[in-house]
């Protein structure tokens, strides 16, 4: 029996935000009133509410002419927004709209370690099960998932953008006055049944507002169609996404970064 490959582990990664999310078919008779019912499921843990514009439907597709978004508009503007249910310490946030559920963790200044993937997945899947039960009860329909996504956002503060190669395996640019950095690689994810998603590896130079510090924002996103429509079909997708993100993070970061971020199984 082959040994399971152990993922690299970091004691203090520069992780700033983690997002797990699914997109699903909206129930036919969903109304804004039902958002209150969804909030009641999580209200004790997420007492703060905000309403923001809805996210567009997003699907990774393949074949034909690649890379274009749909070419024309139709229909009236959407009448239903996206709800944010926010935890009291504002470290966790639920995003809900008629066809989306997302759980965000974001680092807060006073917060310690990131709660790790297993903890976030457990929280996400429990909440998704609660929403599925609500759908069954209110709409007599199962939650049918058509896309899923896991995103890790890292924030690496630097003195100069030319130091990017100190942390990330990019072409050396020490003797260049680098004004900005914008690097992106998109991988196609395939299984025996064909392509099912994409992996986005994106690095950008940013500035933090409060301290006006230069930083690199390193975003890793695994997005696509899970193996099936139901929650039970999604765990493998998220496990695969987590593994890909950690592996790429490890491969693309330098030995210096590994030391600074406390890589444990070097």
């Amino acid at each position: 029996m082959p040994l399971e490959k152990k993922l690299p582990d970091y004691a203090d990664p520069p992780l700033d935000e983690v997002v797990l999310g699914v997109q699903f078919s909206p129930p036919n008779n969903y109304t804004s009133v039902h958002a209150c019912g969804i909030w009641e499921l999580f209200r004790s843990e997420f007492p703060i509410v905000e309403e923001v514009p809805p996210l567009d439907s997003q699907v990774e597709t393949f074949g034909g002419t690649p890379g274009q978004e749909p070419s024309f508009t139709f229909g009236p503007p959407p009448v239903r927004g996206r709800m944010w249910f926010i935890s009291a310490d504002r470290s966790h946030l639920i995003q809900f709209q008629e066809n989306r559920f997302l759980l965000n963790w974001r680092r807060r200044p006073a917060e310690g370690n990131y709660p790790r993937f297993a903890g976030i997945w457990s929280s996400f899947s429990t909440k998704l099960e609660a929403i599925a039960s609500y759908f069954q009860q209110e709409f007599s329909t199962a939650l049918k998932i058509n896309q899923a996504e896991i995103t890790y956002v890292n924030l690496i503060e630097v003195e100069e953008f030319a130091q990017a190669d100190k942390w990330i395996r990019l072409p050396e640019s020490r003797n260049v006055d680098v004004e900005s950095v914008n690097y992106k690689v998109v991988e196609i994810l395939s299984s025996a049944g064909g392509p099912y998603g994409r992996f986005f590896n994106e690095i950008q130079s940013v500035l933090t507002k409060e301290r006006k510090k230069k930083a690199l924002r390193w975003s890793l996103t695994f997005r696509g169609k899970p193996g099936g429509k139901f929650i039970s079909d999604c765990q493998q997708f998220f496990d695969d996404g987590h593994s890909r993100i950690v592996s790429r993070f490890d491969e693309f970061s330098t030995k210096h970064a590994h030391e600074m971020w406390g890589k444990n199984n070097e």
Binding site: D16, E17, V19, G21, Q23, S25, P26, N28, V52, P53, P54, L55, D56, S57, V59, E60, T61, F62, G63, G64, T65, Q68, E69, P70, S71, F72, T73, F74, G75, P76, P77, P78, L93, N99, R100, N104, R106, K144, N146, Q147, E149, T151, E179, N182, K184, G194, P195, Y196, F200, E202, Q204, V206, L207, T208, K209, S219, T221, R223, G224, K225
Partner: protein
Amino acid sequence: MSNRTASRIPDGSVFAADGDRIFQKNSNESVVSLWGHQGYSLQRNLVVHDDSAWSAQLREKLNALTALPIGWDGYHGVPVSFDCARFAVRILDAICDGAVPAPSLVPGSDGTLQIEWHCCGFDVELDVLDVGQVDAYRLNRGTGEEEEIELGVDFTQISTWIEDMAARS
């Protein structure tokens, strides 16, 4: 998160402040990250190239089909769902380049949408049941050969069907 402002930095890129951070607006980052929260499009679809008569026909038809009244079929029919309609647009955008006539769009009473061509020696029907769930059928009228496939998010096969039609148009 509501204290959002925008400013221009020396290289000409527009940056927007969100909370205690600043980020580049033209990033292709995940839209679900709070980093990128910008109040994304209020439109049901994005506009990239919106200038063909072909597009105008489809837009008009989709406007009508997604606004059908409940019971439009004399029973309990519902309008075409935005998800199905948008996925249909995604398919058409990927596989059609104007070399074949605009297809017929036929609503299903359950909110689904059928895309049909009956031309160039073929009958092609794409039954859009849901996002990432399409039953596709083709009849070659010349040979009588029939093909049926189930599509997810890979349109490669039906793209060749459209090429076959285009070759005979």
